[in-house]
Amino acid sequence: MTTMTLAKALNNGLRRAMEDDEKVLVMGEDVGTLGGVFRITDGLQKDFGDDRVIDTPLAESGIVGTAVGLAMRGYRPVVEIQFDGFVYPAYDQIVCQVAKLHYRSGGRIKMPMVIRIPFGGGIGAVEHHSESPEAQFVHTPGLKVVACSNPADAYGMIQQAIRSDDPVIFLEPKRLYYSVKGEVDETAVPAPLWQSRVVRPGTDATLVAYGPTVSTCLDAATVAAEEGRSIEVIDLRTLSPLDLVPVLESVRRTGRLVVVHEAHMTLGMGAEIAARVTEECFHSLESPVLRVGGYDTPYPPARIEESYLPDLDRVLDAVDRTFGF
């Protein structure tokens, strides 16, 4: 058991995956000598060589498109997109090729590719560096989408994603890379990748989050507990396939649900969760499912990003409102 940052956990997880399977490649802009702008691939090129840790030309479609070809040749490429806002030039390759090749080929072509995306805001960055593009990938059949929220999960999930024979969009809450430390047991068997998890049990209302908003929700639960409300918090972990089993179970008990994410409200994950939970738990709900998300505006300049991002107060506010129905 070692205490490490989320960044270090990902770095160790990648290293482990590369040791376990020589077909695993890492590729992207600045992932080699520099170790990535967030240093997630630090030291990997030194140890595995530049045939396996590949600095690419500056072209995201090229990166993902060549990764498709490498996967067809039997490799398992792990692609780094430098920032969330720069995944869009690769969007066509992801949506029309990566996502569809298994289906198109009647299952003959496997696409074991991981696309790592540092996502979310709160780091005081300039435009295009704080986006939350997950909904668009969740809407795309053929992709799997996961988000880690803590070092232990990060370490296990990155390895599991790399072992998956299907393409996985792997979302990393960049705000937490170095701000969060946690214990990682590198010998433990990780929980199954495609499962959500109750991270704090409770009885009065349910909060659902993933990635960077999990800790916000845990904080909210702590504050709520002080005034006597017991809040259950669920970390989704997998957004596609979406595992709602623990959520439905929870809502049947609590009758109240708030979904929290940084992505824009309209057609963010909260919309899908609200629709499904309402359909499945119609008679258990004491209140409509409420959503706390980024507003339906472009991500704002850094000096006001805290007004834009869901925070403790907005989450507690929403919890309050679920008791008002």
Partner: protein
């Protein structure tokens, strides 16, 4: 609009002036005359030449038959290769078994060379599937409809070949080249140019084979480039060359050299096969809206099959018998295509729920259950509402 001034008195070196370039490699003239080329000459055996004739004749029949099947409502669509037989057979026959090909949607001649049954092509254009051959079995990728996307796949695959140590070993069974097919229109796509960047940067063993058939649906080649396309490669730092794409000998010879260059570890090459799309873009297109029949008539004189037949006959390598034999083979092939096309079973709609991922997710299992229940509700005249 002001006309481009390509040659500039101040900015040198200026690119050449015209989009039409007489400097294309040719080994057999439209009149069936064998000409020689300092760099790309080859000795072709009579069998090889007869083989080219046979291949081209048969794939032309595949094309004609498929076009007819579409007209009869058996296919949803067909993308015709008419006129491009030499480019495709030349490129296809220059391959070694271990080479891997990434086609567009029009590479029926190359598919033929890779042993993909034409009926599999019909099944795609009928709407039964989206490509039912096994790419790994034929070393022939699936047809790609999004223009240019496959050029990056080819480049990545070639990067994999490098990592497997399958270039430059000198072992002819091992050294592997990859071919990226694309059209003149595709050359404008970002993906294609990024493929050039990656291929050059990693010196990947890939041959970019562009069939410049002069048209991207209704847009003439000049909309995409004001200089000959093969020169695009020079700007990325690798060789480019234009070959007479209606000359199967020249295409074969140039491709053989380019492929060997890739296998030897000398990196990418751009081969522009200068040809003409004699048919419509696809069966839904009406080319009379945008091009002159004169143009088509002129290109008829450059027919890729006729010139080989003339050459074979003139040199005593083929006679009426041989030609009749091939025609009979074509008839049989056409007949089989018709028969097997009609017999193609519709796919099981439930496949959509099982083939998305390598394992079915719970959500898709649930959607499939709903679907099954819905279908079952119609059984036994039990019509809802």
């Amino acid at each position: 609009m002001i006309e481009p001034a390509l040659a500039d008195p101040v900015f040198g070196p200026a690119p050449e002036q015209t989009a039409d370039d007489p400097e294309l490699v040719q080994l057999l003239t439209p009149e069936g005359e064998r000409v020689h080329h300092p760099a790309f000459d080859l000795d072709f055996s009579p069998d090889q030449l007869r083989g080219f004739y046979r291949d081209m004749t048969l794939v032309r029949r595949v094309d004609i038959e498929a076009t007819a099947l579409q007209r009869h409502g058996e296919l949803g669509l067909w993308a015709q290769l008419l006129g491009q037989e030499a480019a495709q057979i030349g490129a296809g026959r220059a391959l070694r078994p271990q080479d891997f090909v990434f086609p567009t949607y029009r590479e029926h001649g190359v598919a033929w060379c890779r042993g993909v049954d034409p009926v599999r092509l019909l099944s795609l254009f009928r709407g039964v599937d989206q490509g039912s051959w096994d790419p790994a079995e034929h070393n022939f990728g699936l047809y790609t409809i999004v223009i240019g996307a496959q050029t990056l796949h080819a480049t990545g695959y070639a990067m994999g070949v490098q990592r497997d140590g399958a270039v430059g070993t000198g072992d002819p069974e091992r050294d592997t080249a990859v071919v990226a097919h694309f059209g003149d229109g595709a050359s404008s796509q970002g993906d294609v140019n990024e493929a050039f960047v990656f291929a050059a940067s990693y010196n990947a063993p890939v041959v970019f084979f562009c069939q410049n058939n002069q048209w991207a649906i209704s847009e003439p080649f000049e909309r995409q480039s004001r200089i000959p396309l093969y020169r695009r490669a020079h700007g990325f730092g690798f060789p480019g060359i234009r070959v007479d794409g209606n000359d199967v000998l020249a295409t074969y010879s140039v491709m053989q050299t380019a492929l060997q260059r890739a296998r030897d570890g000398q990196g990418p090459t751009f081969v522009e096969a200068y040809t003409y799309r004699m048919g419509a873009h696809t069966t839904t297109d009406d080319p009379t809206r945008y091009r002159l029949s004169d143009d088509v008539e002129n290109w008829k004189l450059k027919d890729p099959i006729a010139r080989v037949e003339v050459y074979l006959r003139r040199n005593g390598m083929a006679d009426d018998n041989f030609v009749a034999e091939v025609a009979a083979e074509a008839d049989a092939l056409g007949e089989r295509m018709r028969r097997e096309c009609h017999a193609l079973p519709d796919p099981d709609p439930r496949d959509i729920f099982t083939l998305v991922h390598s394992e079915q997710t719970a959500e898709l299992a649930a959607q499939q259950a709903t679907f099954d229940a819905h279908v079952a509700s119609f059984d036994g005249e039990e019509v809802p509402v």
